[in-house]
Amino acid sequence: MNERPFSRVITAIIYALAGFLLWLCARPLIELTILNSQSLLVIFIVVMILMFYLRMPNWLCAIVCGMLVLHAMHHYFFYTYPILSADWLIQLGEGISQNIEYLWHGQPTEESDLFSAFLFFLLFGLILFAIRYWLQKGRLVLFTSLAVLSGVLMDTFTVYDGSKTMIGIVVCALLLLSMWKWKNFPLKNTEKKELKSGFSWIAATSSIIAVIVVLALLMPKPESRWAASSDYLSGFGLSLFQNGPFFSGNQRIGYDDDDSRLGGSIGMDQTPLFTAAISGNPGYWRVAHKDHYTGRGWSNNEPFYLPASAAKTLASNLSLYEDQTKTNKQTAVLHFSKASPAILPYSGEPMQITVPGKQLKIEQTTGQVLPIDEKRVSSEQLAYAEPVYQTSILRKATSESDPEIIREHYLQVPQDLPDRVRALGQRLTAGHTNRYDQVKAVVNYLRSSRFRYSTEQIPRPSQNQDYVDQFLFDSKVGYCDNFSTSMVVLLRSAGIPARWVKGFTSGEFQGQVQEKVNGKNMDLNQYQITNADAHSWGEVYFPGSGWVTFEPTPSFSDPSQFASASTNNDSEGSSSEQPSGSSERAQSQQDGAAQQPEKQPADHSANKDSDQKKNASANNSPGVGMNWFRIGWIALIVLLIGALAALVTRKKWLRAIYRWKIKKNPLHSTQDFRNGYRLLLRMLELNGVKRLDTETLREFATRVCHQNNGNALLLLTECYERIIYMNDNRIPSMSAERFHTLADQLIADEPNAHPQERLNKHKEK
């Protein structure tokens, strides 16, 4: 019964401190992992702690917690989908069930980032519930010591420098404990004394904490016994903790000409290289292809350049597609940053490459286009043919019709290629009669869960080990180079001409820009390509169609557009210049269930790791996905703010509603009277006068009348008693006017003064 007058405030402070403490403890986790979004975590904590503070039932909290977990998953992995769509939920469910299966079969190493992140957020939710339990049961010592322990562990065993956070954690924990202690202190008899003791308590504890902190900072501290404790521990198999797939390392990667020796880990680097404003669908940016696999990598032949000033030369030398591939003419404008190497990437089949004031040359064997002085350029204008492959035609292709020159160049495998690689290539394609299905079989094999995508902790092949063999049979973990090289080698083993292509993925969508192309202003979609977007993939030759791009790396989606027979006409009709590709969406109808939906950029910048982004894919055009996402977010925020405002001001508007309802009450029946009376009691409750469960109405009414110096409630109560204890359902014995007069009297003396004060005044009288 006897609560501290401002105990709700203290409780609020305690909850806030608990939330803050949790945030401090969780921050290192966020900073160390790919989940580098602080705001998400803050929202998570704030929402849950607020719900706990408002004493929402556990089931409601659990629902909200589940929604927050889902939202986090959406935020990290499926952000290109509209949040309200079911597609990503289904994908999430599939991913999780697959990972559970791995766990079940004792292959915990197979689990993906998706699953790790999901478990992380689930665990985070559970921790929040544990905190609620601790707060309710007063197990604060346990909570705070766990928090401090987690801080210590983070600082010691990871690369995270927690020295500042540690201070925060300790101070926060001490404050929390002191607030708690004070809350449970015996009550003083008056509010004034209470307040005074509260202030002195806060002053005393905070000064003690301050003294402790200052002393601790000034004290001499011995140097760490371990040179680097995290290194020390990595020897004991804890390395996963720092270098696991979940943690980013420090290596750098960019575009590199030398592919003669592949393998080892790569790092992610967000340095922007160039922006590309394009009229068509986002596709991969091709820089060069390589033909000769050495068993270690792709050989660098002596370059042989041709000048490429004329459009004609360009087209003849960089020809990628043959007659049966439909193409759409597209335009692109690229702007290079200072960090960019001297490259001229192109998408599709280039028809014209223009660099202001520069002559260009083409490397014949790799298809690489370069400025003649091999120096970095600032911008590039490109007219290119965007291919739309006809699946039906691709399916007709067989090995017999390959031209001799193609067979000569693109079936090469090293002499010492292990037999099992060769056998695997033949086995994978054996079941299929046409080239397209054969390629798909190999691609699907590589994209299956047998292989894990990672850029970290990739072993280099040993001196005598074949790069592909090591990946396919030994490590089974790797990044684009592993997958693309393996695909090409497997296909060549099966007698399918293929080559290895390097370049960049389509990058991150930035918005629409206007570019001047050939004197005309065009609205183009601009993409940002960074070092981390460097990529490699495979191309397969189809007689009659030319070179078709395939994406063997899981978590990247195939950039190629395949048109099935039914949409042929559409794509023909919409050829020529299409600014934003809304009708092309129809073309991107994918064939084959294994084909992942096309990746589309989305409005998102928080996520630094481009590889994670490749997990996400969407069917919608950028605009739609973005809008849904934004609208969803804004609606959510507005809703939350509205709910909060409603909660804070609930006394006001509830009072207004009750008053209105009482006024409107016609008092035709006893039911009306009952409703009116109940509303009056609720109104009184809002004013701080609450009836106890064990108090009779009359006792309560007497109490209220004592406070208010009137007998309105007593009179109303008598009438109400008659109705409920007599079951008298005839017309109420009180007239409507009388009821309203009494009700007005009762509500009129609204609590401008606090009820407690009024009570005190009454006592003084």
Binding site: N675, T694, R698, R722, Y725
Partner: protein, 321 residues
Amino acid sequence: MNSSVEAHHIISELIDHVETVVVGKRRVVKLITVALLAGGHVLIEDIPGVGKTVLVHAIAKSIGADFKRIQFTPDLLPSDITGLTIYNQKNAQFEFRPGPLMGNIILADEINRTSPKTQSALLEGMAEGHITVDGVTRELPDLFFVMATQNPIEYEGTYPLPEAQLDRFLLKLSIGYPDRRDELSLLDRVPDHNPLSNLKPILSVDDVLYLRRQVASVYVSKEMKNYLMDIIQATREHPLIALGVSPRGTIGLLRAVQAIAFIEQREYVIPDDVKAAVPYVLAHRIILKQEAAYENREPLSIIQEIISKTKVPVSLKEPIE
């Protein structure tokens, strides 16, 4: 006396009337009236000299009924109160001489001074409405109202009433010292004559019987019955109570509550009536465990605790339409 208005008028007149004799004890007077109207009996326990006997006497005299007073003493025999059969030599027959118990209103003064044997003769009459003398069962009159007084049992020369017999009293009251102000006014008007002798009867036996029928028809809603049962149940489940309230107690409580409502001029019972009745109806019907003594708990305080913990039915929780 046909209308209820008149009935209420008479009751308040009765109470006022008695109060002229016993100053400042309106609460007790009211409660005794409750017992009278509920058809129960009253036990008044208090130290000597606070006006027990005068109070009871005043009430008895205000009702125009056959009033008997029995002064209980250690040597009183059952036949002294029930009456006895004697041999009438004149017509050579045994004939029954009714004792003081055969009246309408009995004042059993200092009931705990007499032996249990005599007490039980009185109690049989109270419970059954008839007495058995020499193997013949004789009916007591329709209006049979016992008001007993007793000194607190710690005092010398008392035989405590057994629990089973205490149960037969509807109410157990104590009078307590009067207020200072009341006692002052008492001093002012110490009369030169006995005020009791001035009292005139206000009610007849028929009036009382009529009022009793009225009381029995006071409406008790289902919620209220449940509320009563909640309280009764709580006495049976309380950790410090060895023996809870019997069903006789439950019925008694219902009657008392109805009577209180009637006296308050209502034809229906409200929770306040229950709260008013419970301490007097239930406190003497429970037997505490040994632990209660260690905690220095009295039956009354435990009953109060039960009341203060039982939820009151107010029908407020239903949704507002």
